[in-house]
């Protein structure tokens, strides 16, 4: 992840990202990606996402 990539992603997604925000957002995005959103793909093999979150425990 670098500032040029962030600029390009923002452009492609039509997200208005002022130039003075690029450095901050790049750093934060890098941090988020480094954390993998939790577990690794290998650890999540076969797991469905909780897209429609259901708190009850099916029997």
């Amino acid at each position: 992840m670098n500032e040029e990539t962030v600029r390009e992603w923002a452009r492609m997604l039509t997200i208005r990202l002022p130039e003075d925000r690029v450095e901050t957002v790049t750093a934060q995005l890098e941090g988020q990606i480094a954390e993998h959103g939790g577990l690794s793909p290998e650890e999540l093999e076969g797991i469905e996402p909780a897209i429609v979150f259901e708190p009850e425990w099916a029997e």
């Binding site: 962030v6 992603w9 923002a10 997604l13 997200i15 208005r16 990202l17 002022p18 925000r21 901050t24 957002v25 934060q28 995005l29 988020q32 990606i33 954390e35 993998h36 959103g37 939790g38 577990l39 793909p41 650890e43 999540l44 797991i47 469905e48 996402p49 909780a50 897209i51 979150f53 708190p55 009850e56 425990w57």
Partner: protein, 468 residues
Amino acid sequence: MTAAPWSLSVVQAAELIKTKRLKPSELAESALERYRVVEPLVHAFVSVDEDRVMRDAKAQDGHSGGPLHGIPVAIKDIFDINGSKTGCGSKAMQDAPPATRDSAAVARLRAAGAIIFGKTTTHELACGVYTPPTRNPWDLERSAGGSSGGTGASVAAGIVAGGIGSDTGGSIRIPASHCGLVGLKPTYARISRAGALTLSWSLDHVGTLTRTVADAALMLSVLAGPDPADPTTIGRPPVPGPNIPDDGVRGMRIAILRGSPFDPIEDEMEDALKSVAAHIRAAGADVSDATLPELEAGLAAEFSIVAAEAASYHEARMPISAALIGEDVRGLLETGLLLPAALYLRAQRTRRVIQEAFKTLFRERGLDAVIAPTVPAKAQRVDQMEYQYDGTSEPVITGLVRTTAPFNLSGLPTVAVPSGIGASGFPTSVQIATRPFAEQTALRIAQEVQRAAGSVFIPKGLETALKT
């Protein structure tokens, strides 16, 4: 009656009003007097319409009503109140028009007879753990926590006996712990989110802050229930009653959660947890330790889900209002807009793993509840950004969210309850989580903890300030 009306609990005041020993207008007048004295110190409210409060209260004098008849309650300023602007603690919302109807939670409170006392501060867009400019009644140099810090401070300061907040990653339980209160985050979808600001559709929980466990049970019985405007609430188990079965904890199976993400922790929070374990064991519960290594991934999943969902919710507002949003929240929203879908899905899959881990633990051990420290440390100073432990440190927000977020990700009902006063003179707290929709079980255990801890605590900082 000798106690000042403002100092009564919700249950106590409701009983006095029901039996005509206290008028709603007397309670409202007392609450307003308390507000005028302490609000300049704690800054808990965004707005209070004193005339409206008295008018609504006097209209209830001499009448009978619902279970909260004549009880003043505080509303976090993310819930719509008909005719009021919902400011959400943000300059980005400063031009929002007044709401044209009550949020579902406010409507339910009104229908039960509650007096809407005022709107309380929130950390900007319900996303943070400081809630400026609000101060903690225990120490006016410390934060009341967040994001429902205004409701927490208003209840701890004795202005009102109860109020509502929202909890996406601890935002009810953190102020509860910091302010010595009972914070109830019910099961996800137990209370309608309709008419409230969204931070994260899949993680937001509406709940209560009160001084007693019994008050939390009463307020939950009023607030919970199906609402067509929030389809997640439809078809859920029956709403719990207003009273907690006074059966104690004998025979219950309870696990104390150890290890990551509940370490590191301040010594006094660890001591409090041990005391609670010893007490409930002595009261007849079967208490054991447990670890859930899966929870270690919870913080990253929480932050990814919140960033993506909050950014999506605010996307239309961002091009116009981004510059008006504070640096911490703005960065999260901008990052969320660019977060890869694969990462968001990985976080939601991690969440499923966490949910399954809880389910397996409860089933294999036949558990009724798990108990963990609510937060790892006492309230941070208003300018404190790091928590220090023996040889380690971490950002305050990381510390406060790592212990609370697992219960947002799992959706389990969770009650934060004061467990005593720590060596430093600040309240300690544990959180009790049970199976989905088993709020009554969590409240029963919380009642036992409260019994041992000595019930309601008086914030020393506020009382000292009032004497000087």
